[in-house]
Symmetry: C2
Subunit: 196 residues, 2 copies
């Protein structure tokens, strides 16, 4: 069966694909709560993240079928990994800087980073933090300055704030005005998205 | 019984109170989901919001006792209202601009606002949006630009992003370096917070 697609929807998809940022990504490191995973993917969609990397070694990738906001999942390319060195090596070979959330002495605030550069941000398990083998490969820490009594952010809130900061910088630099995918990549993505 | 308080904790409380922003606030308009309410309060604490206004007319104020992140509630002054005109009038009399999230033609993006000015942001019920009587009193709309296929943010994510934007501006303007409360207000708050 061929599903009908309206011109409006085609236009919408074309516009969203033209704004997708190929070189802004997240690594989801064993985030287990489906609320959080679903909210993170929704923020990715909203700020034009094309794909995220799933590093699930201790936790199961949660079932998002029952989440009302699970629909964002449909529009984000998910790539699974089990080998941290392989994943990090591949990203670094593409010129991607890798950051992880953390509060060590050398950590720098989110406002201090230039997110117009190719960047991957590791978001970690709610209880255990960044997997040690991954932390070792990606020592650069980023934090959101907190002014209050409670000393942590929910992981989906942290993701949203970091991606918003990246969006503001990339938007100011005009990076949402020109596609980050090549013409060929765009054509192939369009064909695929039209059928979703 | 008098509870012991360590010098470290006193210092911590003093520091947090010195960074509290008296003139940055939220109006929670019938937000019903305890996850969302709890996450919003956590972001308030993190970005130095001193107090929020609770406008609950259709929904019950949710029970936060079971939320692990409910502890932020302890550090935010909660003021209940049932009369929208009274609440809005009181805020306006203090020189507070009131914004609500929305997408009408006159809505402006979050990056375009000057949050160093006294500001209250209305965050609304997850399903019904802003209460009509409140919307009428506060017509100015603010939105977070979205680049994706899904057309809405979770309310706690929206709150976090707006408060982060306010924080960045206020931080750059040095507003976290000098207390927004008077010396008398601070002394009274300290006494109260030490016993919490």
């Amino acid at each position: 069966m061929i599903r009908q697609i309206t011109e409006d929807r085609k236009k919408r998809i074309d516009g969203v694909l033209a704004r997708r940022q190929k070189d802004l990504t997240l690594i989801m490191d064993n985030i287990w709560d489906p609320h959080n995973v679903s909210a993170v993917l929704r923020s990715c969609d909203a700020f034009g993240v094309a794909g995220v990397h799933l590093y699930y070694t201790d936790s199961q990738w949660p079932d998002l079928a029952k989440k009302t906001s699970g629909s964002a999942k449909k529009w984000i390319e998910l790539t699974r990994h089990v080998d941290a060195a392989d994943m990090v090596g591949h990203l670094k070979a593409q010129g991607t800087r890798i950051l992880r959330t953390g509060f060590s002495e050398s950590a720098r605030p989110v406002m201090d980073f230039d997110f117009t550069k190719p960047t991957a941000i590791i978001l970690s398990n709610e209880h255990r933090g960044t997997s040690p083998e991954l932390a070792e490969l990606a020592p650069d820490e980023i934090y959101i300055p907190m002014q209050g009594m409670v000393q942590s952010f929910n992981v989906s809130v942290a993701a949203a704030i970091i991606l918003y900061q990246a969006f503001v910088q990339r938007d100011a630099a005009g990076m949402y005005d020109n596609p980050s995918f090549s013409r060929e990549e765009l054509e192939s993505l369009k064909t695929e998205w039209y059928s979703r």
